[in-house]
Assembly symmetry: C2
Homo-oligomer: 538 residues x 2
Amino acid sequence: MAYAYWKSGKTKDFAVFDLFFRKNPFQGEFTIFAGLEECLKFLKKFHYSASDIEYLKETLPSSLEDEFFEYLKTVSAKDVKLYAMAEGSVAFPRVPLMRIEGPLIIVQLLETTLLTLVNYASLMATNAARYRIAAGSMKLFEFGLRRAQGPDGGLSASKYSYIGGFDGTSNVLAGKLFNIPVKGTHAHAYITSFNDFSELRNVYLEAKDGGPPRDLLELALTWRTNILPLFNVFSLETSEGELAALISFAIAFPDGFMALVDTYEVQRYSTSMNRINSDTFKPRNKYRSGLINFCAVALALNDLGYRAIGIRLDSGDLAYLSNVARHYFTEIAVKYNLSWFENLMIMASNDINEETILSLNEQGHKINCFGIGTHLVTCQRQPALGCVYKMVELNGYPRIKLSQDVGKVTMPGCKDAYRLYSESGHALVDLLQRSVEPPPEVNEKVLCRHPFEESKRAYVIPSRVEKLLNLQWENGEICQELPTLQQIKEKVQMSLKTLRPDIKRNLNPTPFKVAVSDRLYTFLHDLWLKNAPIGELS
Amino acid sequence: MAYAYWKSGKTKDFAVFDLFFRKNPFQGEFTIFAGLEECLKFLKKFHYSASDIEYLKETLPSSLEDEFFEYLKTVSAKDVKLYAMAEGSVAFPRVPLMRIEGPLIIVQLLETTLLTLVNYASLMATNAARYRIAAGSMKLFEFGLRRAQGPDGGLSASKYSYIGGFDGTSNVLAGKLFNIPVKGTHAHAYITSFNDFSELRNVYLEAKDGGPPRDLLELALTWRTNILPLFNVFSLETSEGELAALISFAIAFPDGFMALVDTYEVQRYSTSMNRINSDTFKPRNKYRSGLINFCAVALALNDLGYRAIGIRLDSGDLAYLSNVARHYFTEIAVKYNLSWFENLMIMASNDINEETILSLNEQGHKINCFGIGTHLVTCQRQPALGCVYKMVELNGYPRIKLSQDVGKVTMPGCKDAYRLYSESGHALVDLLQRSVEPPPEVNEKVLCRHPFEESKRAYVIPSRVEKLLNLQWENGEICQELPTLQQIKEKVQMSLKTLRPDIKRNLNPTPFKVAVSDRLYTFLHDLWLKNAPIGELS
């Protein structure tokens, strides 16, 4: 296509393209725009290497003129201007995330890469932001590398889920590359790699304040005997392997003791027991229990001045098990006067998605941290955002793409976008205008029109007007200081705060209004009528 | 976790892990194993760089002993053995795709990367193979880069969809890196970038055999007038822009003329027309039509000795439009005695998935090529394959992971896997055995048992026995010659050929049988009973 443009002498044609999406993902009513930094870095590097050109020469038909390849050698993004929303902004259908201006052939060559860099980044950040809303103040960690769509898919997932509201990742390379907090626990295999106490080559641990080493196993065994009645357990078939594994892990990470407790059983309960309120819960179990082993080791660590972090649940009824665990943590806290024990972290990590979190919230649970993998990183509910890249102007003349489907009609011409805010700081509407129009003004009445329904109009008097598309790239340079990952992450939360809660809710959210100015309305519809065929009935 | 292993003195423990999945993707009954080459290349490179270790030192708790980081410097995969199926084989639940043996800590450090490299590769190859089955002999091109999960997700998609049965990709970098055929057409923007004939800076094209240049526009306009009656069109409101764009594209690619014909209208029909058999189809339309413009240009090219390739349809009722297009191609072929015109390529590319192809097949269509994007590359129907990596043996002792869910119980011990074939060459069953057992023999009766249902047993007398897991990596070296991409692609088709059609069908496919030997059955169940808790009713 580039060759055909070149061959047609269109290298100097000046085009304006909009990059936008038509529908919010995940049946929601908002999207987080992300990927801008990657786009700008791509523009910076954009060129065809000698080996690229060699490959193209071999691959394209031999009839192509050599001069074209000479031309390709000179190609760069220096004559391109890119306007974009701030990375981390909430964004809505039809409002351009980016406007790209420049020589037609160049702007067209950028298309696929810009789409690739924006589509998944924005999808991922939006997905993460939705989990963040569902999870409230709970901690969220991204655990998805093994299920991601390729190694780089995994890295992008870590980065953009952090931006969207996650607290960290288990992907250590992402931690290293992007300076994201890393968090991991051990796997079931760690527990099953121990059979019995004889495998513990060392059971001694120094006290935190430097006291003499003490036998952690012995301490834990004593604690286990002491707390058995509390768990209503009177005899215990030992699972030495599990306890041995936890002891060894505690010795390795005395200040970071976090244990997976469901390799065997979290806490066995008799079959007649009602799964009711944990306050009245009286298990009568005498089998091995990850929870008892964990508490025994955590109490032993406490004797040496260390505070355990918590447990991870990776199977079973997470609401129920978390209530059980919190119940015992509280009992121990009270009985031994260790108030921090009540607040031990309970992490859940079994195939969690947004709906699971919402359902857990409804059931009532005591989880305060989630590790989320597959559903998060692959965006299982909708694995692609449908951003498109459409020509809206060529050599100063507007372009419109018509379609039987009104939703697919493009907004012609070079446009600007403004977000109008109420006095209380809420976003009221996004307004598209022709770029030649003066921007809306604070405290002045602005007519906002539905782009397609003639009778739908509203006056808005904004208390604040935000220009959404700002120049980011010009003369071959990034022309705004790039925000840090942390700043983009904060931008997401600030931007979400300006949305009314009903727009953000999971079930039947209210659409945010996207309007056009009166002039753009007329411009659009005049052009539409001029270009649309008149049918013929017969 | 690695530190805890190290600290516990477990660096020399010898572990065996299986990498396998529990359920075929896409509600199907087969999976294509892919990603092996990437895994082997990863093993080759596996180490921690100085900067990795620096990062880990900064990030992990300061209590970690320095010697551990010294140890990390020495880490490599040289003491690891990796057995795997041939890349491109069909594979089934529970049968290990790989068996990894070596020092516990090393084998554990490899886990996430091996899973990442196998999961998406196999998912993608399987998805592509399913499209291939649905599409029969039609051409399939991967067009998904812009919607892929990150740039590398896009590259992997191109590579593994080619392996799975696609004919090429629009991803030029994938073409360059993996030597995959590349294929692209122009976009709607190319058509809309032309307004009228005045923009054609050149309309002359030399004949293929070197004759004098002739005016392609003039030829096409003449042809368009000539063929109008054939299309039952008697007057034509000109859409100069579309014809100008097609002329310019034809001049750029006289031997590769492939046109997108639905920017405006493929072929307008009057509203009273029944959408019936294309033989009786009589449109009465007088508006601009991509199809008429395409045919005019294709016939003009023919005058100069060039053969057009075909059209692309990117919207509308694809079955219907393809029938219409083929109908006219045939009429022209007959009328002008150009038999090749009848066989012009009709490519469809609008949000195609496996179901669309099957539904088109049912409706009857004349498409012979698909360009497939989003659904293919993101594996929309199921965006992750759930491969897991489980310890099955440690220091010679079997390990079993129990679960309330029988499907999640692991097969303990070091095992081998065999595929038994019938005389006709069909795969009958995959048989798992303990590695200490002798392999099944050709023409000898083999008892195959269901792993969990005691009474389900069958005798099989195989005509061929294939050992599935073969040594691929030992002593720090790849120990089999790596097949080329082309050979892997062929392996997929050969391997699929050995499956009965009912296993491969889209609707309610029959599960392929995976069995265990009698010895493995007993071994598994003895270990299970020994390890499972006895409950207590009360």
